[in-house]
Symmetry: C2
């Protein structure tokens, strides 16, 4: 197998877990859906590093990474949070969840275009999505209001102009 393929397979595995999370949410298995997002997060932390270590970074890989991130850290956490918690406030809850995913998409599109080397503009979707998944895992300890506020705050932080240092 060409070593060029390895990081892309890891990225596709990230997307695989994102879609699996959506399926688990459909099946009302919310804790498992949250864990799938955390698995996707681990894989997302690996693909870029692997590509750089193997000297096989590519534009194709970057595009695939972005696409996977929207599903695993935008759409999957949004529908998980709606399905498990925000649905108690009906359409308002759905709207808040969808806005989270839309802001994630704006964040990703902007990130690909800006291509600044020194820092990120706006908080990363790869931080906000897993955070929502962790909050869902703590759902018996946190009130509904927390989820409403956190969804809105994280949505805002993703599209804000806050500078986040690269590490």
């Amino acid at each position: 197998m060409s070593k060029r393929l390895i990081p892309n397979i890891v990225t596709l595995a990230n997307l695989f877990f994102g879609i699996t999370s959506l399926w688990l949410t459909m099946e009302s298995q919310y804790k498992e859906a949250a864990v799938a997002i955390l698995f996707a997060m681990v894989l997302d932390g690996m693909d870029g590093r692997l590509a750089r270590r193997l000297h096989v970074t590519s534009d194709f890989g970057k595009e695939l990474d972005s696409l996977s991130d929207l599903v695993s850290f935008g759409v999957a956490p949004a529908l998980l949070t709606y399905g498990s918690i925000l649905n108690t406030i009906g359409y308002w809850g759905l709207l808040i969840a969808i806005i989270f995913a839309l802001c994630g998409a704006i964040r990703l599109a902007r990130f690909n275009v800006l291509n600044i080397k020194t820092h990120f503009v706006g908080v990363l979707i790869t931080i906000c999505g897993p955070l929502m998944a962790i909050f869902v895992l703590l759902s018996n300890r946190l009130p509904l209001e927390f989820y409403v506020i956190m969804s809105i705050v994280l949505s805002y932080l993703m599209v804000s102009n806050i500078k986040v240092p690269k590490y």
Copy 2:
């Protein structure tokens, strides 16, 4: 409102219908979920033309379009087909559905990188996704085997090297 924003708002509306389709699939409202994908298709046909007509095409818009397309025409039709039909064959059905979405992601990433002006390489996800939605609308007239075969065939066509003329 800046006219620069208009096409991007249409693209976000495409994504909005994609996520709405996933939510409707979660609620077992399969016909409505299929219609949501067709709404997304109509919007997807508008954003690029609108951007060109208003002379506001942008890299940001293209990235946002790709991201939205994966959700509306890759992930949403995949989970709709699984939820409404392919779940009768269990995990095999889920695997076939996920492969459809993964092939869609590969197609989109490749499309953005190749950037060929004269033709497309591989059948467009924006054709394959709505086709699956239409098949779901016809689900009382078509056998299970049809969905299994079509999912696999369309997955292959998206990642194939078939030349599709631009029109």
